[in-house]
Assembly symmetry: C2
Homo-oligomer: 215 residues x 2
């Protein structure tokens, strides 16, 4: 069933899951596509189309059952399971991620970090071990690793990504400032913070110009 869901819908699912979590926290049990549309700023027809992928959630004039929808989307996204994550690059960003325990509430558990820096290797972050990157193959053979997070310098990112792929890790969260060129069955989510800053910079320039124009 899952394989029929389009990539565009998959990209939107985490956002649905997030809003449904918030509704549950607020004690909301049912919601119409219209109300969901208002809070999510997506058209009601888009919502109906997206959620129809899972069949039988909505009832005409009755709305969606929030808990059920939350649970089903959670299952599809796999947040009802435990996912083991390794972090490659135990610098400031890698350590900050390892300290962020909120990921665990969604089933994402960082189990180890890897680095090349002798001063970091052998140490730990919040009790999570930092290993020498050379131990990565051995570690992956001995543990079930679902996702790798890469917080490494641009220059070493391609080699690391190829190593991960050869170790059969097919899901990568990439913070390095480049696009990884990997086989089609490897899914990469990029966090390109510099790109985001440049977009903000563009808009703040435009904004400054229009303010100047007003004066």
């Amino acid at each position: 069933m899952q394989k029929d869901i389009s990539e565009a819908v998959v990209r939107r699912l985490p956002r649905y899951y997030r809003y449904l979590s918030d509704l549950l926290d607020e004690g909301v049990e049912r919601i119409s596509s219209g109300d969901l549309s208002d809070i999510m700023k997506v058209t009601a027809s888009q919502i109906r189309q997206d959620l129809n992928n899972f069949g039988g959630f909505g009832q005409q004039g009755y709305g969606y059952n929030v808990r059920y929808l939350h649970e089903e989307i959670g299952k599809i996204l796999g947040v009802d399971r435990k996912h083991s994550i390794i972090v490659i690059g135990a610098g400031d960003m890698g350590q900050a991620l390892a300290k962020y325990t909120n990921f665990e509430r969604l089933g994402f558990f960082i189990i180890a970090l890897f680095d090349i820096d002798p001063e970091l290797i052998g140490g730990d972050v919040r009790g999570l071990p930092i290993y020498d990157i050379s131990k990565l193959p051995e570690f992956v053979r001995g543990h079930n690793v679902d996702i790798a997070v890469m917080t490494v310098p641009k220059g070493s990112a391609e080699d690391i990504a190829e190593m991960l792929t050869s170790l059969n890790i097919h899901a990568i969260l990439n913070f390095a400032h480049l696009d990884l060129d990997l086989p089609d069955d490897v899914v990469v989510e990029n966090v390109h913070l510099s790109d985001s800053l440049m977009r903000l910079s563009y808009h703040s320039l435009i904004n400054r110009e229009s303010l100047d124009g007003k004066e």
Copy 2:
């Protein structure tokens, strides 16, 4: 001129800028849309369409002048200027960002951090001061702040974002796990790491299923 560039093109510009920077580093002076298409995995016609927005960069049969294009896109994105950034939330993520000096190479300078934690306030990260959040209005009046980065818990994110908006900060990089509801002239770039992890989780499940199916 800038105002005619569509949002979709603007979203893609940082990626062009990144590839052009790499080409410059490699000493490449000219590149055809076809070659750029190969390395960027975007169709050549998309590239020509995007870059035509700036006029006169490409010459038939001659290719783009990499340095010129890099410089022009850099100007449009504003990376030829200095941008002052404040970080709201001086926890692990905020501190990791403040320590990441590569942003400065693109003109993005973090000038201060803000927090509510008495143990952090008065301290510093890499020499950058951490102030009490209550000092934010005074600070913004005395400094030219272009961009605010929010690394705060979900619960306080909306109040902080409203405060920033009221202080005339119109560009926000948001790490809090919610969508901010702000006026149209405020541009927000979201870094929703949990959403990214959920997408990876979905794909790793699919992958696991198809591997199971093969066995």
